[in-house]
């Protein structure tokens, strides 16, 4: 009986994994499909990669997304670290209020945040563009960055920076020589997570983007109306490849440590 149940769960697990990876494989395969209609195989071709290279609109959107993700992930990680260090000094009520305020955006629907932010920008008569886009993404990503960095910072043995001070470091030297190197992995984990969240974001981008700052997800979404072309598959394949390169670059071992570390905190 137990044996049968084990078999069932084992197949269930395989099914879930397959469900996760089949779409990715399908995208890669279809990007090399000669046919105009995405689901019909007409033979091998790389022509969609050529067309992608000519699609300046799509490439411009990719650039916007990359820039926004880069800037907002960096800002969110930096703010997360500062928040963690600040909160370590707070006690009691102040700490509760601050951490509540920091993590509230996690449970507020993103669409509400988007509408609210748009009203604020409107009231300030700020032009929508890269700046508003980055600020919007910062609102979305900061709680995640803070969550990861805060956990790691609190898990740090507080006698380590004290030992650095005892051995002649001023506050800045203790931070640079001890605290920062010890937080390198959680900071990297936070940055990667924020980058991914920002890169794939649609809701917040819808409210905060402006003319000339259309992100890739928005562009792809708008293409749905005119019908998806296999160029999207080519782009998808390139992004999968890019992600794989990052993972290999950071190192699989490191990546696992990052994830386990974030998990433990």
């Amino acid at each position: 009986m137990k044996h049968a149940l084990d078999t069932v769960t084992a197949w269930l697990a395989r099914g879930v994994i397959a469900f996760l990876y089949i779409p990715i494989i399908v995208v890669v395969v279809l990007s090399f499909n000669d046919s105009e209609i995405t689901y019909k195989w007409d033979g091998f071709s790389t022509r969609w990669y050529g067309k992608l290279a000519d699609n300046t609109e799509l490439l411009a959107a990719l650039q916007v997304s990359a820039e926004v993700a880069l800037i907002s992930a960096t800002l969110a990680t930096a703010c997360g670290l500062l928040a963690a260090m600040g909160m370590a000094r707070l006690r009691g009520k102040g700490k509760a209020i601050f951490s509540g305020g920091l993590f509230l955006p996690l449970i507020i629907p993103e669409i509400v945040l988007g509408v609210a932010l748009l009203s604020v920008f409107g009231a300030m008569s700020a032009d929508l563009g890269m700046t508003t886009l980055v600020l919007g993404h910062l609102v979305v990503t900061l709680p995640y960055a803070a969550l990861i960095v805060l956990g790691a910072y609190n898990a740090l043995d507080s006698s380590l920076p004290e030992a650095a001070t005892d051995l002649g470091c001023n506050a800045w030297q203790a931070f640079r020589r001890v605290t920062l190197p010890l937080l390198r992995q959680p900071l990297l984990a936070a940055w990667l997570l924020c980058f991914t969240i920002s890169f794939g974001n649609i809701v917040m981008s819808t409210f905060t983007n402006g003319v000339g700052s259309t992100t890739l997800p928005l562009r792809v979404y708008s293409m749905l109306k005119g019908g998806l072309t296999p160029e999207i598959n080519a782009l998808g394949t390139l992004l999968v490849l890019f992600t794989l390169l990052i993972i290999l670059g950071v190192g699989l071992r490191q990546m696992r440590r990052v994830l386990v570390g974030a998990d433990r905190s």
Binding site: S159, E162, T165, G168, C169, L182
Partner: protein, 371 residues
């Protein structure tokens, strides 16, 4: 209460000033006083221990010497110079943390070299020579390239010692230095720390709750309780001549009989008038404790067997406990209180549990305490 702290030595000049001089030092967290009115001197090159139960304020006192805490009252002088307001990184002292606080992202050599690199006081070649010497001092030659994770607890502590001593501070503070080690390693490190201290000629100040640790390593000990220093003395003096009931109870084991003084006799309710040591200098009618160490108590079957001049109290033998190097006898006196006697080695008394016995001691080996 008269704080039995020592009087300051001669007038301090830079060279003769004590390593540490605390004058009326106090620290209050919110409304809670952690340390109150501590005045004491720590001499140059001595091995000094601050001993007390947890929560007695010893760690706070140490952190005020390092500069991690700022005293709310009094002054901390280091080497004759007022250190109030001097930040920790500018004080000529180092600390050995209880958790060792080794930097996990640096290897052994980099940990040891840390202070010299931060202070940029020496050229590179000299730093690596100093690291080699420091590792040799703690008998860890050739460990420079190891990572911290590869080390055992005892080795980590040695690295921490090498790291703390490489800059030759005038003072090293050790926070429960042996607390994390197992019994055997403890005994070894006790002797080793003492040896290193003599070798480098640095003033060592340890903070500990372990009386054995303090007694074996220290030149002098300060006993703390409730944020106050109760006694500063040599280990023998603290054991033989405790200043208060707390000290007599905290260091080793003591039996206490409480009563009222009348001449050379102590009136103890329902036990009678007992002889006390002569020349105690306390006024008649004072309420006092008589402290008797278990090893000074002898048991006899009959009152008459006791030598002349010894105090004898009747009781019942409740239990005999074999401790390996000693045997402990638990009695109940006629007033129902507990009393302990101890003899070296195994039990050769021939006494049986439940038997009536007499506990006897030489009054000169007992001690009167008025607080």
């Amino acid at each position: 209460m008269t704080a039995p702290t020592q009087a300051p030595d001669e007038a301090p000049t830079a060279a003769s000033a004590p390593a540490v001089r605390l004058t009326g030092v106090g620290k209050t967290f919110g409304d809670t006083p952690a340390v109150q009115d501590v005045t004491l001197d720590i001499r140059r090159n001595e091995f000094f221990s601050i001993l007390g139960p947890s929560g007695c304020g010893k760690t706070t006192l140490m952190r005020m010497i390092t500069g991690f805490e700022v005293p709310t009252e009094g002054t901390v002088e280091l080497g004759g110079v007022n250190a109030n307001g001097v930040p920790p990184h500018k004080r000529d002292l180092n600390m050995l943390f209880q958790s060792y606080a080794l930097f996990p992202h640096l290897n052994v050599g980099e940990n040891v070299a840390f202070e010299l690199k931060v202070r940029r006081s020496r050229p590179k070649a000299e730093i690596s020579k100093a690291v080699t010497e420091a590792l040799a001092l703690v008998r860890l030659e050739g460990y420079g390239e190891r990572s911290i994770a590869q080390l055992s607890g005892g080795q980590r502590q040695r690295v921490a010692i090498a790291r703390a001593l490489i800059g030759r501070p005038s003072l090293l503070l050790l926070d429960e230095p042996l607390g994390a080690l197992d019994q055997k390693l403890r005994a070894e490190m006790q002797l080793e720390l003492k040896k290193i201290q003599r070798e480098v000629g640095v003033t060592f100040v340890t903070v500990t709750h372990d009386q054995e640790e303090a007694l074996t390593m220290s030149d002098r000990i300060a006993i703390m309780d409730g944020g106050r220093v109760l006694q500063v003395d040599s280990p023998e003096a603290i054991y033989e001549r405790p200043a208060t009931r707390f000290v007599a109870d905290f260091i080793g084991t003591s039996n206490f009989l409480t009563g009222t003084l009348g001449g050379d006799r102590l009136g103890v309710e329902s036990l009678g008038n007992l002889a006390v040591p002569r020349g105690h200098g306390l006024a008649d009618g004072t309420g006092v404790h008589l402290a008797i160490r278990p090893e000074n108590v002898r048991l006899t079957r009959e009152e008459g067997e006791a030598a002349a001049g010894r105090v004898a109290l009747p009781g019942t033998l409740q239990q005999i406990v074999y401790l390996g190097n000693a045997t402990r006898y638990h009695l109940t006196l006629t007033d129902g209180s507990d009393f302990i006697a101890e003899s070296r080695g195994a039990d050769r008394s021939g006494l049986a549990m439940g038997e009536p016995v007499w506990a006897t001691w030489d009054p000169a080996r007992s001690r009167l305490l008025d607080q």
